[in-house]
Symmetry: D4
Subunit: 222 residues, 8 copies
């Protein structure tokens, strides 16, 4: 697995990352890490690799667009000196275009999204062991749906930047699409955005696969 | 308009009808009628037709399937001696098939749905001035979606029974489909089922149109 | 209808406008717009004119007199760059003269009321497409009642300024008077000031009529 | 004063009597007596006549009509073996006719009101030292108001029964009319029914005057 | 009666004056005046003298000693431009000597008490129509009790300053002593300090007697 | 010390015994034993005599008179098969005579008190290793105080029954009298009845002294 | 994997199983399954095997001993017609012997434990596809600790019954022992009993391994 | 006993000292002192030595390491001018090494612990009558346990500094070890750190023994 003892991973994002975590940054005891995929990643690492102490930090804030996240990125991500940074942003950039069509100042259009995301990448690139880009998504299997179509543009931007900057890329849109071929999205998320714990488990699985996580791993006592 | 002074209308249904109304039956002062389409219908009748005292009763209970509603129909609808009865049921019959696929005893299949709905109709037919059937719906424009396909079966059953028994039929599925051609469902309902107040306004509009409601009506003082 | 796509309307006022809206300024998702006439206007616009994205902002604050509103008018109205401004103020200017007779510094007398209201008008006149003046009111049909007599002075001032400055005027006092000829004010408002949702529906109706709202309007998908 | 040591007075009524008292019957320590006129009567008796132990019991229940009160009169009044009984009922009998015009089963018409009230009187007449009838009221100075006109019928019935059965009669309608000649009803009650503490003080004053209460009384230690 | 139309009275004090009033200064609508003797004084003035608008302000703060009150006297009393000032302070000065004997910095000894109280008097003397000194008290009939003996020193200081500066003096200690000759203090106050509403009624009575309040007064409409 | 391993002690009483314990009977983990003298006795036994497992049960219920306690004595004391029973009752029998003088049915007079207490003693006498009678008390050093005088009658009855039936007697009245010779009752109890934790410590000390509790005891591990 | 489509698994147990699940039996939407190992098992099954609908039911109740569980086993387990039953009980049987040594009736000794557990096994044996016995445990690595020693007796009984009746056995005691060789128990559970989510993840892992769960499994859409 | 009339003792520490006390410093009435050993010490002093007024101040703050306590030591201890200072710190210094192994910045290693503790001692040494060092502890009888082994290093540092600076030393680790030879730690503390009230009683006992506290002491009235 790619993580080493005493590595620190900071997960930046919106409500999907946040999931009731301490604000604006949560880690350590109790429910500070929230109840979403970040918590499950932390649980899995600690349960399967007890010999590795890996510090997981949740810098997700509900409702954030890429513009909001960029604004607090220095304080809530870079200044924490992470070894690894994970960014999952863009859902609200798109969503506001459909649930608040009369409020353009709440919306972040593709060009700005790309700029915001690239600025974040550049802020930590070279200072960390690796950057994860977790794609935004909309659990809508119908590719003709307007919000899905719009989201696909953002997913493409995210994938493009991952390639351009050598980030590890996790395609949540693809993962949910595959899953919804079998089970209806109603099983995972009422609003096709906020996953229940089954969804969070799927997201953690996708993330960990990208990290070389070995489910069969067992540690010996030191 | 079809309602006369001192008429009583009882609206039976699930959470879409209920919307925080008093349980199991709500009417009269304060928020007893809830905050959904039933309340808006009541507000519109009282505001535009002040010379007509029309009693509106909300017999919606969240989570009800047609099986649940049938069980309490005598107590919560028939025994109230309504002049008009409105039934809007079936969404949970379908939804449980997709969000709880492992729990078949929570699901109501089409054949039982038809029987349940027809029993309710027969229980009040002939005792009331008229019966409204408001179709169940899923605000999913993609007709290939599995839950939408399933819902279409129930909508068809509902429409069929309306025709068979001479009920006034309101096609909410069609109404939402038209609306979602223009605005995305995310604007109306997070989960494509529970409408916000814009959705409730649309439902009230559709209902009132079926009643010959005249927006230009003005009363003179008696 | 007079509103165009992407227009912004800001409703300034007191508790009658506020009605549990976000403070000091509410708009967008959830219940930020409160539950009074502003919300109903927003719901009606979105439900009947889905092809028009109109931004509705609630700048009502409970308990405000015209003096209080003037003080925050720059921050909560003008700086928002509205296309349309609606002002409904004056009820508390009068009410405090009757419920707090020993506290003259809480009361706003007619001369100051006129000055306050005119200052607000002048602050936005020429910058916006139109200004609505919604009259204060007291749902007291007895014109000999002292508070009703006093309110009539303020209503007259409001009407006078509307004429002087070419504002669109909505006479809530007249509207409620007509309604109370048929139903008792006890049906609409316990205190003859704060309307229940039937009253809010009446106020929204009166406002929308002034805007050329067409209840028969239907949009085609773009 | 008419009360003697160890006398028990039971006050029956609706929300005006209840005023947050213990339900259905309140007396003794803490706030069991509520915060309305009953509490002030109790306070005045104890403060000005400390040598007399007088037991005051509040049997007011919010929302009660004369029909509701009659139903529980045996349990909440007669069975307590009072020395004196005070009845203040009828406001909701009238109010429901105006705030819930479509719900006739919530309304109590004059003929039934008279029967209900007389039944209560007869249930305790002869068993107690005296019966107080406190008139219902509506703090509406305009006698042409429909609800005031209606209330006047009930006040007249109440006065008539007081005369017929030798009850002590307190005319709250008259008392409030006099007061509202000087101060506006907005100073006393938002809804012209539920008095604030100034109103409760006025009601207690009117009650105590009927009892020969002496404000100048001072007791000597036994 | 000594108060005139539009007079303002400010009541300064500790928890006995405060009694859940708005902090630090309460007046006007709702429960801003608290539920103690200040509220009853206000209620009595408004109920018996409706033709006089008298503004009552509660500047009581729970736990205040004379040292605490002096510190905020400018802000909470003088700057309000009262016509009349009432001061009731000293109970906590004494109480802390008995419930917190190890914490001398919480206690205010007699010499400082006298200085504090006189400074307050001098701050408003000459600027107001009159000053009320309401004595501190301990509802302990046993004059040999140590706290009662201590309190008697403070009562004497208070009475002395009233005489020296021509203040109107109300002797609550004497009033409670008389009352407790008849009823046990347990009837009025669990802790012999904080009166229930019977006690508050007694205090209001004692205050109003000092003001020439006429219980038989009735106003005619203007 | 008189208690042996696996002995069970049940403490019956009123609010002084109860002190927020589980209702009607509390024991075991968490705060089931309340926070009064019973808890401290339990803490002391467990801390100083760890080798003895002694089961302490709190059967105190706030507001109980001896009449109330007698009524539930079978269920809450006898049926628990205690080895030792402690009874502390009578305060409310007396208190109600002073704080609720008009409600004689809440009061328990001396003759009934003696009967009630003796019935309780007889119900367990012979079935248990020993009975403790803890005297009621009023922390009023002035023996001329009416409530203290009355309480002294009950204390004497309690002491008399202890002698007659060979119960272990703890004189809380005497204990508090001694303490209040040094510190004022205000230090221990606001209302001279409900002790703070210093008072509870005093009561536990007095109880334990009667049991031969040895503060110097230390156990060796078994 | 051993589970088939539409299988139902019922997990019976104490607080370790319960973990805030609906009471007494929880399943389906929202947090009805609690937040412990049962929820994680359900999440893993649904996430990795979406083509299998497996119904998971949580019949854990906090504080249950084997005696308590046996008493409700018919209602909460057998009557649900499970295909698989999992039992994890015994921790409280032991714990009460150490935290409540004076309350023997709360404790379940080894002989009774064995009888209770065997009765449960026999109640479902032959009616279900398989029975899981999950051992009780105490996260205490020191085998000389008295409670650990005691627990080892119960673990042995549990293992013995699993062998005797052909149940699938999961040795949580061994699993935690291995883990605590690497990380201190303070990382997993404050009280060495109630696991945090890392612990719950470990328990789910141990359970799933016994079921032939394949982490690499992926389903194809039907 | 070593304390004299009007002495002030300040107890500094972490959650074991804090135990719900007022933050950051608690003393005086109500529950300001919390519910732990500090409260019991205060109760014992006041109950057994009523002639001595001793001021007890709780400066415990939950979660504090020695680093945190040192940072606030000036404000919360020295500036209060204590006569005696008690310090009980170090548990969290150790605990974080085991429950948060990946977060080294939350952990305080032995060398820093010694420096922090010595700085606190030096800050008050010479200014006070005496300094108490209360050892940190872990109620773990197994000396091979890693956290116990680590704690033993801190206990040794604490003891060493006590000897070096002439502080009064209380060995809580030893005291708990002796107690746990007889009763299991589960009886005293779920997490082997936070004592229940039996544990707090043990700690108070150990502290008071160090002070020459005489359980047989009785005061005479002055």
């Amino acid at each position: 697995m790619i993580f080493e003892n005493m590595d620190r991973i900071v997960f930046a994002g919106d409500s999907v990352t946040d999931m009731d975590s301490a604000q604006p940054v949560g880690e350590g005891l109790f429910d500070n890490l929230g109840i979403g995929y970040v918590r499950i990643v932390d649980n899995m690492l600690a349960a399967y690799y007890p010999e590795l102490n890996i510090r997981v930090t949740n810098s997700g804030v509900s409702g954030n667009t890429s513009r909001d996240l960029l604004e607090r990125f220095g304080r809530d991500v870079t200044s924490l000196n992470p070894d690894w940074v994970s960014i999952c942003i863009g859902i609200n950039d798109v969503w506001r275009q459909f649930d608040s069509p009369a409020m353009p100042d709440c919306q972040v259009l593709p060009q700005e999204y790309e700029q915001n995301l690239e600025k974040m990448i550049l802020e930590v690139k070279g200072k960390v062991k690796g950057i994860f880009l977790l794609s935004p998504y909309y659990m809508e299997p119908n590719r003709e749906d307007k919000m899905r179509r719009r989201m696909d543009e953002y997913v493409a931007i995210c994938a493009g930047l991952a390639g351009k900057h050598g980030c590890m890329y996790v395609d949540f849109q693809k993962m949910y699409e595959d899953y919804c071929n079998i089970r209806h999205s109603a099983f995972i998320a009422w609003d096709r955005v906020h996953p229940n714990r089954v969804g969070a488990t799927l997201m953690a699985r996708a993330f960990l696969e990208r990290c070389g996580f070995d489910y069969g791993h067992r540690a010996s006592a030191s």
